[in-house]
Symmetry: C2
Subunit: 126 residues, 2 copies
Amino acid sequence: MLNKTECSAFVIPIRDCLDILSGKWKLPILGALMEGKKRFKELERSIPHITPRMLSKELRELEINQLVKRTVYDTVPVTVEYEMAPYGHSLKKVLMEMKDWGTQHRKRIMTTDTPIVTEELDVVEV
Amino acid sequence: MLNKTECSAFVIPIRDCLDILSGKWKLPILGALMEGKKRFKELERSIPHITPRMLSKELRELEINQLVKRTVYDTVPVTVEYEMAPYGHSLKKVLMEMKDWGTQHRKRIMTTDTPIVTEELDVVEV
DNA sequence: GTAACCACTATACCAAAGTATACCGATATA
DNA sequence: TATATCGGTATACTTTGGTATAGTGGTTAC
């Protein structure tokens, strides 16, 4: 049980964490970058149906939150590389907990109840 | 580094977990219920600015996912009580990881960088 | 010369999420 | 008789998130 103060101290940081991972494409982008560094067009190709607009927007947000590092190489034409920033790996524990919970929850809901299935997700192409 | 198969096995359950906690009011509702069981109007009063429409909708989703238990008592007028379901407590580890990460992240962003502050949140009233 | 690649941006549009306001029937209170 | 409470629902609206489509300027390949 929590009191009022504990409750805010609980809701606000979780909201922060949730907001950072929110949006349709952040997870697929992080997933793709976990395979290694990639250029803009490589990301676009490995994430089915993403538009350059959304890719650009979501990458910017991830970069602002220091999870992703963007490097511009002075070639012609320019080369831009995206990769997980060192800080990005600090998310690992959270993501693994979410993955474990999500995995067991999906099984639970599928077997014990009317299935509430989230829509089919596109698989990130390598 | 992940390969394509690992990547889907990573994205899908995390998406599930995220979806379950998504929406503006799920966290405040869970927070309020962590103080103990509450009736509909009590929840409405303890969560500033929530409308009955949203409260009803989000409670229903939490109930479908078995995180919250709804009990109707045969009084006149009816009494309806909401509480954390036993299964709801299975979220604790995930939520705590998110809270810890969110807390350190807020500090980090505030001190090292242009502050990207999420909007002020209303505190849940007791 | 024209077509494609690179890393994007601009504009317009559409769908989902959330808000505002009013209301339900039954009961208790003034 | 009028007002408030209970646990919500109905309808209409606005705001946010995401999509679709086209185009930028400079370079290399056919």
